[in-house]
Symmetry: C2
DNA sequence: CCAAAACCATAGGTGCGCGCTATGGCCGCC
DNA sequence: GGCGGCCATAGCGCGCACCTATGGTTTTGG
């Protein structure tokens, strides 16, 4: 069964006239007649009664809805592809590690939504390895993380900004009101390990060097869970500057803690990107992040 | 967009491997590659990422459901046509005038249902002209009526049986208990005219000749309505023998009423009939109706 | 680390099939 | 009876889909 046969069939079913149907399809009547005959041979029965006026046979009536569906699905595919190409419609698939706050992107996404109408976002979350896999498999076009496996040489990396880590404690905590905190103050505290953060291992190394126990602590796997534990007063945490935490928690710098992470934008080298992804990438790379972060912190 | 392109696309989407997909489609890999390229050109973008392993692009993911639907509709059409041809499935479209009781057919239809499983019946009702039109337009394959317009020479006619008319009255009616009724007894009665019966006009002529008023009577358009009026005691009626009426009504022969009608089976000459219709036609024409009607009357 | 295999792209040759024109038969209409 | 609309058939040409052969690139395995 070929598509043109289906098209001809539908034209004849509409006009009930082979000659006019052929005209509508921009072919001659013999061509159309032969195509219908082939279709009839494949389906094993006549589709039309050759009378004046012509009519659908029982078999023809049965075939009509299915063949119409077949043709319209193909037409729908062409139409959707056209919308897709013209940028009318599209999806931005972006993978983030759990330690990247979505708020960082929201101003940019707001802007991009005005450029591309009917744009869909697909936010994918995972740890560092998972984000890398999503990029590899093409499930995501862009990735944002502090650090991904550098073994894969097709990974394009653009640093966005570098940030410090801060201590976060519950407002009732004994450290909450303390003006200055240094590493020694943390030694007796229950630390919540942000195991999902790709920078976690390195941070733990720094803390361990200062005699802080990081090997016997709760394991959690999302920023949301971390915040709820902090609010419940179960432990303290060290989080990056751009992690948004509720007003009820207190955040403070820690003297002597020399830990920083760089947040990167990732793409796949040599892979064609959609217009939307390219636009987002240009925006993110062209932003003065120092200024941007100060402004958003003020807000 | 051609069907084989769609088929190849779905094979590649399934296997994510051009070579194996080509093998599944029983073509060589270059043929498949070229078909995919053509499809990509028509849709205006790549459908697959040519990497190891391959993957669907965003456009490819969007196209997949529609193209799958397209292909499955075509496959469904083939499958349905196959079922249809093998007699597994089918429809018998049969047109009846309102004056033909469906009970006449039920024993035959019971039998035919055992021969053709998944058979659907479509009973179409109308007056004589409408039944003729349904046959002409091919909406019905067979027609059953007492008399159709003989002007259309393509009408095949096979007489089935001939029957008398009888008087039907409510059990409370003054004529109900009368042993013998003749035409004079009807003169003062309110007659219900079965305007939907193709034999009605001729019957009226007979009655009018005996001085019975048939020109000022209620007009009704279905046997069901007629029965309800009779049960309500609103008038009397003259109906053919094979019209089934409830036990609550009384039916009697009328002396001197010389009216009979012949019920015919109709088909369209020179038009191919389905296996089901041919079978029904053979059964109806091969029945000894005199015997059949006696038996069903006894039952 | 190199050889082998797997995979996709390209080139060039060949045959089938789709579309064309021309024509004939059939039916309905003026 | 002549005429026009409609569908079927015959014959022809060209495009297209398929094939084989081969090259380039990536992955695998020893």
């Amino acid at each position: 069964m070929e598509m043109h046969q289906v098209r001809y069939f539908l034209a004849v079913a509409r006009t009930l006239n082979f000659t006019r149907a052929a005209d509508e399809c921009n072919v001659t009547q013999p061509s159309l007649t032969r195509a219908i005959k082939q279709l009839e041979a494949e389906l094993g029965g006549d589709l039309f009664r050759r009378e004046r006026p012509a009519g659908l046979t029982e078999l023809g009536q049965r075939m009509h809805p299915l063949l119409k569906q077949c043709y319209e699905a193909a037409a729908g595919a062409r139409s959707l592809a056209s919308s897709f190409k013209s940028g009318e419609i599209g999806a931005l698939r972006i993978a983030l590690t759990h330690s990247i706050d979505l708020c960082l992107l929201i101003p940019f996404l707001d802007q991009i939504k005005r450029q591309f109408n009917r744009l869909e976002f697909r936010f994918l979350r995972g740890n560092g390895r998972e984000v890398g896999d999503m990029l590899k498999k093409g499930e995501a076009e862009l990735g944002i993380a502090a650090e991904l496996d550098p073994n894969w040489e097709r990974l394009d990396t653009w640093p966005l900004f570098t940030e410090d880590f801060q201590l976060v404690v519950n407002a009732d905590h004994r450290l909450a009101d303390q003006d200055s905190i240094d590493l020694d103050d943390l030694r007796s505290e229950q630390l919540l390990s942000r195991g999902y953060c790709e920078y976690g291992p390195r941070l733990n190394t720094v803390l361990r060097e200062h005699g802080i126990d990081v090997d016997h602590c709760h394991e959690i796997s999302s920023e949301r869970d971390l915040i709820e534990l902090l609010e419940a007063g179960i432990g303290i945490a060290v989080v990056p500057d751009t992690s948004r935490i509720p007003q009820t928690l207190k955040r403070t710098s820690v003297e002597g803690l020399d830990a920083r992470r760089t947040v990167n934008l990732y793409g796949v080298a040599g892979r064609e990107r959609t217009a939307v992804a390219s636009a987002v990438m240009r925006m993110l790379r062209g932003t003065d992040w120092r200024q941007f972060l100060e402004k958003s912190r003020a807000a």
